[in-house]
Symmetry: C2
Subunit: 336 residues, 2 copies
DNA sequence: CTTGACACCTGAAACGTTTCGGTTTATAAT
DNA sequence: ATTATAAACCGAAACGTTTCAGGTGTCAAG
């Protein structure tokens, strides 16, 4: 029913080898034969069986991406944009993209193992790196091609793209301080996440450099969802000595925080300053629009994908470690 | 370097056949041998080469999903949640998920062709159906297993899950009418999208059933993004005879519309009612929270995935066509 | 007339599984 | 003592490619 090389070979009266060579444009096939084979292949509706190609070539032409999802209501504009970047870049290079969703934990490690040792993919993209990231340790140990979005504290050398989040957060906090804020609260993210650590560091550094006291009770840890930003900001705002500004570790939590402030009758950007980080699309359309730090998410998706494909093809990377410079996006939620 | 059945066979002193049978738990292998083989396989770190399995079994154990993305800033909470549902269900059933991102158009058709005829996947999930959907026509014609999220106007019988959007939209509009609104604007979506058509129909029916005149100038067509909701609502609100309520075809546009209203100093839910559709997570955390129609997106993801796997396995579906009942979620943006 | 070079083509092996159709051995039934 | 049955195992083919190592036949150079 499905047409194979053998069928074409029979149709054109040549060997399977010749047909294969013709289709792969090898130069020991005459031009006429190539033309004939190609025409017949098209007419018969031939498409190569990729399982066979893969088995033979020991390559899958597939990239893997394991998305860290938390619970069923997974909704992260950040990842949809990243996915678009990765998806477009990989398909532009003829690679398939295998996506799997896994919450961090043993199942996630297992997923990496399965994908790597089953040789399901030629390389992996790892996103949202952690301080002590078992995925990276595993991939380095296996010597399996991968590119990360984010760094790690482990002492491995691997290709990555990251944004300088310490600097990014310092930019926002400095902005708030310049606006006169002294009591600034920080809604952090779990400290095992590398970017969360950097952003918290940026916060601490900015406060210190400006000689401001650091009230540890103003640092709360959320889980990066809007819901959690909402809850934690509510808690902060209900205190007798509420902060005058809240800097969130990511936009989603900042958006949740804005709601909490508004529920308490506060004018965001006036009665209270709220800032985010990432510059996801909704940040621009919130009310008021969110002051944040821009990350070129789509472009990062393309970059890591492109780097990975180069690694797989054995090409040298011009830059193995890319640290993007952040830029502050001043909108109205931060006041000023 | 990588360990194959042959290596295990050599190690345990049995044939490749026996090893394979043991690992597949066939019943013509003794229990001792099975145990031995399994232990050795584990010790040697064996994982089957899936390309070989696929070639042999003529199955890929992979599901395909081609996401309709529009432009680089693709950020749709709807799809991330759907993806989580699909991803979790497929991996729970031992299926891989091949994701590709494509804007509708010739490239998209090509992507479907490639995936189907290269037998890269055992079945496809098609989302966001269109009135005249070439993807569905193609898949039906090819007799390729697929399940759709959404219906179509074409006369094909295929398995789908959908929500009754006509009814859903009638529910919201009736709610607005009950609240006393008469001039209700509608921000629609491109009419080739099936769900957009249904929702518009729901709007028209509700107006008609309540004997309200239908001002065609109050129906604007957006592209489902927050940006577009923002722009169109702005346009509506700047008219001398502005509507008292705006019903958007989806939450994202409603969220954008809320911003537009707020920029003009209007209190959403009081000076103007705004409603959405889908109940994506941010709808709950907007300020004010969004009155909308709930769709169990995550669950729908699991359902279509589950149905597809049944189709692939040749099991009969208990229900080939599932039409979910919508439920109105009354929050504050709609007033009342 | 031989030799070498060249263009074009091909058989067979290999990739790692699964599965069909056996065989062998032990045991039970006649 | 023979035959049937069952348990445990195995060889070889097959899935559809790619590629290695040739093999023709033609033609020009020696």
């Amino acid at each position: 029913m499905t047409v194979t090389l053998k069928d074409i070979a029979r149709a054109v009266g040549k060997s399977v080898t010749t047909v294969s060579s013709a289709l792969n444009d090898y130069d020991d096939v005459s031009e006429e034969t190539k033309a004939l084979v190609r025409r017949v292949a098209r007419e018969m509706g031939y498409t190569p069986n990729i399982a066979a190609q893969r088995l033979r070539k020991q390559r899958t032409d597939t990239l893997g991406l394991i998305l860290p999802t938390f619970g069923p209501r997974f909704s992260d504009p950040f990842f949809s944009e990243l996915l678009a970047g990765i998806g477009n870049e990989s398909s532009a290079n003829g690679f398939d993209l295998l996506v799997s969703t896994q919450a961090p934990g043993p199942d996630e490690d297992e997923a990496y193992r399965r994908v790597v040792s089953g040789r399901r993919v030629d390389g992996l993209l790892v996103v949202r790196t952690r301080r002590n990231d078992p995925r990276i340790a595993f991939l380095v140990e296996q010597n399996f091609p991968f590119v990360a979005f984010g760094r790690t504290e482990q002492d491995f050398d691997f290709p990555y793209v990251d944004e300088d989040c310490v600097l990014g957060m310092k930019l926002v906090i400095q902005h708030l301080i310049d606006l006169g804020h002294r009591r600034i609260a920080f809604i952090a993210a779990p400290s095992d996440l590398m970017f969360a650590t950097y952003r918290l560091t940026g916060f601490r550094q900015a406060m210190e450099e400006n000689g401001l006291p650091l009230d540890e009770s103003l640092i709360l840890v959320g889980d990066m969802t809007q819901r959690s930003g909402h809850r934690l900001a509510g808690e902060l705002l209900d205190r007798p000595d509420r902060p005058t500004a809240i800097a969130a570790c990511n936009d989603l939590m900042a958006l949740g925080a804005m709601t909490a402030a508004q529920e308490r009758g506060l004018m965001v950007g006036q009665d209270i300053a709220i800032t985010g980080f990432d510059d996801i699309p909704p940040a621009q359309y919130s009310h008021p629009p969110l002051t944040t730090v821009h990350q070129p998410i789509y472009r990062i998706g393309r970059m890591i994908c492109d780097m990975l494909i180069k690694c797989i093809n054995g090409e040298a990377l011009v830059e193995r470690h890319i640290l993007l410079q952040p830029s502050l996006i001043i909108r109205r939620s931060g006041g000023g």
